[in-house]
């Protein structure tokens, strides 16, 4: 006779979690306000969108948006490079494996956590106020954005490196910084490259919308046309962006496979 073990009682998480999640869901949908009357009335407006959205004005878009699209890509390139290379040394300080000093570890870790809580467009708004409208604000916003993501991903990777080489370097007389540079850095470089390409993709996507708050790039043109509901001018721009994003994504997937 096989002895079947008893099914354990449901855990506290399930007992509290599920009802809480369901309650929150119902409450959220009420708060969000799905009103069938409003919806019916607005549904008549759909022609405003559909008539223009699927009637793209290609010549206009290529003439007016290609320069801005290039600007968008340049913002993403510059910001992701700067952000990732600033994050590289920071993440060594924000990892337990390479920083034994609790105070500095906590400072760097919480600094990275802090900049991660502010959404990319909030950064863009703040920088447009601080340094003026234009692509420079967008670059700074995306530097913070990519720095935060790279810092988190990389410091977690450094947490799980093989500590053997580090110890070996120290045993043969290396200083802490030398040991980190010669034996921790090479271990994470492939991950760094992969993350960099991933963050570059994210930056390309994010830089598209920066212009909505005046931080440069193709979003500026989208914003001015959106106010006048000129979806016939926006839709070709969106298609152009899609093509650019997907091309860059494919390239980065190919490069990642090549490197790793």
């Amino acid at each position: 006779m096989i002895k079947v073990p008893k099914k354990p009682l449901p855990s506290l998480l399930t007992v509290i979690g599920y009802p809480f999640a369901i309650a929150l869901t119902i409450f959220s949908f009420f708060q969000v306000g799905f009103n069938i009357e409003d919806f019916k009335r607005n549904w008549e407006n759909r022609k405003l969108v559909t008539d223009t959205l699927f009637n793209p004005k290609w010549e206009w878009a290529i003439e007016n948006a290609s320069q801005a699209l290039l600007e968008t890509i340049q913002i993403a390139i510059l910001a992701s490079i700067l952000g990732c290379f600033i994050a590289l040394p920071l993440s060594f300080y924000a990892s337990r494996a390479t920083n034994q000093t609790t105070v500095t570890y906590l400072i760097y870790k919480s600094f990275l956590n802090f900049i991660r809580t502010i959404p990319d467009l909030f950064w863009a708004m703040l920088f447009t106020v601080a340094v003026g409208l234009g692509p420079f604000a967008g670059v700074l916003a995306l530097v913070m954005f990519s720095m935060a993501i790279m810092g988190k991903l990389l410091s977690e990777t450094i947490d799980s490196i093989d500590l053997g080489p580090l110890e070996a370097a120290k045993a043969s007389g290396a200083k802490h910084n030398q040991a980190v540079f010669t034996s921790a850095l090479p271990q994470i470089l492939p991950n760094f490259t992969a993350y960099f390409l991933y963050i570059f993709e994210l930056c390309i996507r994010a830089s598209v919308i920066l212009g909505l708050v005046g931080a440069g790039g193709v979003g500026r043109i989208i914003e001015t046309q959106r106010i006048f509901l000129r979806f016939d001018r926006i839709s070709p721009i969106i298609v152009l962006i899609l093509v650019a994003v997907i091309t860059i994504e494919q390239f980065s997937v190919w490069l990642r496979r090549k490197i790793l």
């Binding site: 799905f34 607005n42 708004m125």
Partner: protein, 267 residues
């Protein structure tokens, strides 16, 4: 001592990447007319803005305006994540090539890629004339985008399952449906649930931003205060948003860790 040389093509690759990075940043910086001086003067300008925000505007009126908006962002994010989770779950089975048919899987994956390519903000202002100004538009935008991302992630989880349990169900006479319910779903559920929570954290940031185009949430509040140069109140908006995100992140991360690790069962 004889140290072996790095193979030649690896060295070439290394130099090539360095050149690419340097050339790329110079090209971008010159195209955007950004000079090193601007970077050097930026911190002092940011500092002026930060000092203008303090002391924060903590008057009753400001709190009464800001906190409900931050709450609205939270509800948009949660409702959007629920929409994303509910719709992406069945779709991800269609997209996984080990569960669904090959041609189905390919088509579904492409559809998910296309959905994923639209940022929430662009979805939001396209939906805006139809669904009206307000949080409903934001919820739908967040939800649609989440379907794309969650569908992709979940289908990859399903593709990575252990085939053993499926085989044992099949060999003991189970149907295809039994395989799905007792073989696949129990294996993928923890990871997929933790992805849902992770997506919720991301959606929280996205929904905070959506207010910029009038799709509900705290974003409108921030951009308006910054435009009217009411920096103490803008500071309050920022601080309340950051606090909310930090709290939600901490709770959600703890739950995710617990889901992935599982409960320790004493026998």
């Amino acid at each position: 001592m004889n140290i072996p040389k790095q193979p030649i093509n690896q060295r070439i690759l290394k130099y090539l990447i360095t050149v690419l990075i340097v050339a790329g940043s110079i090209w971008s910086a010159s195209g955007l007319e950004i000079t090193p001086e601007r970077f050097l003067t930026a911190p002092s300008k940011v500092w002026i803005l930060v000092t203008a925000m303090f002391p924060l505007d903590l008057s009753q009126e400001a709190i009464d305006r800001i906190v409900p908006k931050v709450g609205e962002s939270l509800f948009i994010a949660w409702a959007g994540t629920v929409i994303g989770a509910i719709f992406s779950f069945p779709i991800s089975f269609l997209a996984a090539n080990n569960v669904s048919l090959n041609s189905f899987s390919r088509v579904t994956k492409q559809v998910l890629n296309v959905i994923r390519a639209f940022p929430e903000l662009i979805l939001a202002f396209v939906l805006l004339p139809i669904t009206g100004l307000g949080p409903l538009t934001g919820t739908l935008a967040v939800g649609i985008h989440s379907i794309g991302t969650l569908g992709k992630l979940s289908s990859e989880v399903i593709e990575g399952i252990d085939e053993g349990p499926l085989e044992s169900i099949k060999s003991s006479g189970g149907s295809k449906l039994n395989e799905l319910f007792f073989g696949v779903i129990p294996q993928v559920m923890p990871t997929i649930t933790s992805y849902w929570l992770y997506r919720f954290e991301i959606n929280l940031r996205a929904s905070a931003v959506l207010g910029v185009v009038g799709a509900g949430g705290v974003g409108a509040e921030l951009i308006n205060q910054l435009r009217f140069r009411d920096f103490p109140r803008a500071g309050t908006v920022l601080v309340v948003t950051i606090l909310m995100v930090l709290i939600v992140d901490t709770i959600s991360a703890a739950i995710r860790r617990r889901i992935i690790k599982g409960r320790e069962i004493k026998v």
